[in-house]
């Protein structure tokens, strides 16, 4: 990389973006974000002033500027701010809200979703945004096999068909479904792209260009004045290995309640740096306004915050994903062995006893260095459907959490009551028949998982359970899990906002229903109810109704103790106090949307 400095200078692409003048007056259909409005999730935020530069950093260069072909966060970090969809996830609550559309309605039979676009809003070059852009983006890009588009799969309905997208008039678009399927509403938030700029590169619409041309459109070689945005920002300069500059889109359609057009900042500069340590030093030296810090940064930054004027936010909010142990209720089923152990594992009271032996607080303290939160159910905490909320997208209250507190004495008495006692005097509890009971715990060789398992092993042993922890390689571990051959596996799953994405885990015939695959052929009442709830949740567009179904499924799951959840890392970040509204960041680093720093709402308090 010795020539990077020279190369960067040669490849400097100057700011050439073609901007329109901006709106003369606020469009009638502008989106008003309720900043500072009491009773909303934005009530604790401040109205800002326009101006200034917001400086962040990243450790990866983007790969392109094309939102359809973007496959990695280094690219979506920018494209997500330039290509908004009809709907989006609310910045703060995570609820699905109209975005480029001003509203949508669903027919009584649930098979037609009609979107009404905001009239009078424009692309960053001043061209009106109309239904033609939506139909183009959906039919000619998302559903076009010639386009390397990773959002196509998410459009597939349960019967294998795709929604049919049609223009009704210049500001109305209709999607017709073959079956009611609520999750598709989220999927319809695909990026809307400018037909007037991009149709010429789509082979289907312009046979003069070769197939696949669109996939090479809006690459890093594209002059930046070719880019057009419907989001808050547009990239105006890129210097490889150095920085990406985005400037305010003069035609962005969101305003604050005082009538100030968003974003507040004039520009964002993303410095591209070598690694996270450089990010840390730059933040410390005042070169970056925000920093998504790591646990090891906290003891350095925490004492410096007051004197340097920054805040280290240590949140209690868990990020996406789940971590669990899976107690195999089918152990020995395939080869006709372990019948008594299987019967014991299938007894929910036994699993409950084990749950009382999981010292989640110690795991948080000793494994996650205090930067974690206990977990009790299978849906990620940030999801608006998370059962720790009282309603869809509501604040997390944990009012109805199903928890099994760490209580070894209670666990031991439960084991005693089940007849799982030491019958031969060797110090270990035996099966009720007197046969030895050994429990093997498996995970793969990652520091955190191993540490969890050592804690679990110790607590099981202290309660008289002959538990043995074994590290196996990941592929073996997965085979143990999905093959239904082990005792207990400790692993985790990634997660998202949509509960239906967990259908393969929680429904009785799901491919990852690893705690009891036999439930596919022999579902019990709880399995059947969870299956029903998952279908009910996907089969209604009433989000509050769906929330009720998903809350019940999460609670049933927690009581069922198939997967027994452990804890999840929380997230931390730091920001200089002059950045207004920066405190409202969220778990992942995708900027500008639900899951990142709310770039369009931050502002410079010094102005």
């Amino acid at each position: 990389m010795k020539n990077v400095l020279i190369l960067a200078g040669l490849l400097l692409i100057p700011s050439l973006a073609v901007f329109g003048q901006g709106y003369d007056t606020m469009p009638a259909d502008a989106r008003i974000l309720p900043i500072g409005v009491a009773g909303t999730a934005y009530s604790d935020m401040e109205l800002g002033v326009r101006g200034g530069t917001f400086t962040r950093s990243t450790i990866e260069d983007p790969k392109a500027w094309n939102a359809n072909t973007a496959h990695e966060t280094s690219t979506t970090r920018f494209t997500a701010l330039m290509s908004l969809g009809l709907v989006n996830l609310d910045h703060v609550t995570g609820a699905i809200v109209p975005d480029l559309a001003k509203s949508y309605e669903i027919s009584e039979d649930g098979l037609v979703i009609t979107f009404h676009l905001r009239e009078g809003i424009k692309w960053s070059d001043g061209v009106p945004i109309t239904a033609d852009d939506v139909v183009f983006s959906y039919n000619d890009l998302v559903l076009n096999e010639d386009v390397d588009c990773n959002s196509r799969d998410g459009q597939i309905l349960p019967d294998g068909t795709f929604p049919i997208c049609e223009k009704v008039d210049d500001y109305t678009v209709r999607f017709t479904l073959s079956t009611i399927y609520r999750p598709v509403l989220n999927s319809l938030g695909v990026p809307i792209q400018p037909k007037h700029k991009l149709a010429q590169y789509v082979h289907k619409l312009n046979p003069d260009v070769p197939a696949g041309t669109f996939n090479e459109t809006w690459t890093l070689d594209t002059p930046l004045d070719e880019l057009v945005s419907n989001g808050p920002w547009i990239v105006t300069a890129y210097q490889p290995n150095v920085s990406v500059t985005m400037e305010r889109n003069p035609y962005y359609y969101a305003y604050d309640p005082a009538g100030t057009q968003l974003p507040y900042y004039d520009k964002i500069i993303d410095q591209i740096v070598a690694n996270e340590d450089v990010q840390m030093l730059k933040f410390r030296n005042g070169e970056l306004d925000v920093y998504g810090l790591r646990p090891e940064d906290i003891p350095i930054l925490l004492p410096e915050g007051a004197s340097k004027g920054f805040t280290v936010m240590i949140t209690d909010d868990a990020g996406y994903g789940t971590t669990w142990i899976c107690i195999n209720q089918d152990i020995g089923l395939a080869d006709g062995t372990n019948a008594e152990k299987r019967e014991l594992y299938r007894n929910v009271e036994f699993r409950e006893a084990l749950a009382h032996l999981l010292d989640k607080d110690t795991m948080v303290q000793n494994v996650l260095n205090g930067l974690g939160a206990p977990q009790w159910t299978g849906l990620s905490v940030p999801s608006p459907f998370y059962a720790g909320r009282d309603y869809y997208g509501g604040p997390i209250t944990e009012n109805d959490a199903v928890t099994f507190e760490y209580d070894p004495a209670l666990a031991e008495s439960m084991l005693d009551a089940l007849g799982v006692v030491d019958q031969n005097g060797d110090g270990w509890r035996d099966l009720p028949s007197g046969a030895p009971l050994t429990i093997e715990i498996n995970t793969n060789d990652t520091t955190i998982r191993v540490a969890y398992c050592l804690i679990i092993q110790d607590d099981f042993r202290a309660a008289g359970l002959n538990a043995n922890f074994q590290v196996v390689d990941f592929n073996t571990l997965v085979n143990v899990l999905v093959g239904g051959t082990g005792d207990i596996v400790q692993l985790g799953l990634t997660g998202g906002d949509e509960p239906n994405s967990g259908k393969n885990v929680y429904t009785s015939c799901g491919s990852l229903h690893a705690y009891r695959y036999s439930a596919c052929d022999e579902p019990d009442e709880v399995d059947l109810r969870i299956n029903e709830l998952m279908n009910l949740g996907a089969g209604t567009f009433d989000l509050d109704e769906a929330f009720g179904y998903y809350k019940e499924y999460q609670q049933l799951l927690a009581y069922q103790l198939g997967y027994v959840y452990l804890c999840q890392p929380t997230f931390q970040f730091a920001y200089y106090d002059y950045v207004g509204n920066a405190f409202k960041s969220s778990p992942t680093s995708v900027a500008g949307g639900r899951n990142g720093l709310l770039t369009e709402l931050c502002f410079d308090k010094r102005l």
Binding site: L5, D277, V278, L281, G286, P299, I300, L302, S307
Partner: protein, 228 residues
């Protein structure tokens, strides 16, 4: 390595707004030149670092070596650290070199070694154990400074009360623990601002000979007050 971004880091260090005191520079220059109590002189020196970066490197090198008071020498040394891009230079050194420099008495090298290796000391007890056997004062101070970050109220691990920290700064069993307490106390006081400049100077006078690390805590706080 993206050297241009590192270079930018070094340059930007010049602009670090640690204690900006342009409006009070005259008074502080008087303090730093005439104050007899070292901690007060150094506090003024810390608050004058940005001003000192306006001086020539030659002048600073002379002041750092032969300045009349500890405060002048400190201000010159820190200004040179910025102007010479020393942070970048240290950042790019390997750990073995840093360790050698640290053991030879280079405090900045010791600090950078701990910066590089802080992921190995993610829990306070790991640093406390390290401090039982550390052989060099520079490494003890660097470790203690990192440990102090755990002791600050609000830290997810290891947070201590102000009273506990005062006791530890006075009577901690080793230098690193006392420095850790001092680091955390400074942070607390900067946040809460419990004392005026005069009161802080009085406290320094009362502890400087008996509890040097407690005096160090007051020194850091006083530097902040000087900067307001």
């Amino acid at each position: 390595m993206k050297r241009d971004s590192l270079r930018a880091l070094g340059l930007a260090a010049c602009a670090v707004v640690l204690f900006s005191v342009i409006g009070l520079a005259v008074d502080l220059n008087n303090i730093v030149a005439n104050e007899l109590i070292p901690e007060i002189s150094k506090a003024a020196g810390m608050a004058l670092v940005n001003d000192y970066t306006m001086k020539s490197v030659e002048e600073l090198e002379q002041l750092a070596a032969t300045g009349r008071t500890p405060g002048i020498r400190l201000a010159a040394d820190r200004a040179l650290f910025i102007l010479n891009g020393r942070e970048l230079e240290l950042f790019e050194m390997d750990d073995a070199t840093l360790l050698d420099l640290a053991k030879a008495g280079d405090q900045d090298a010791a600090n950078m070694w701990f910066f590089h290796n802080r992921a190995s000391y993610k829990r306070p007890e790991l640093i406390e154990e390290y401090l039982l056997t550390v052989e060099s004062d520079t490494l003890a101070i660097a470790a203690g400074t990192l440990l102090g970050g755990f002791y600050v109220p609000g830290s997810p691990l290891g947070a201590k009360t102000e009273a506990e920290l005062v006791e530890l700064a006075k009577n901690g069993e080793n230098l690193g623990l006392r420095v850790a307490a001092a680091t955390a106390l400074t942070a607390i006081w900067i946040k809460d601002q419990p004392l005026t400049i005069d009161e802080t100077e009085t406290e320094i006078l009362s502890v400087t000979l008996v509890y040097p690390e407690l005096a160090l805590a007051y020194q850091g706080y006083l530097a902040y007050l000087f900067s307001l």
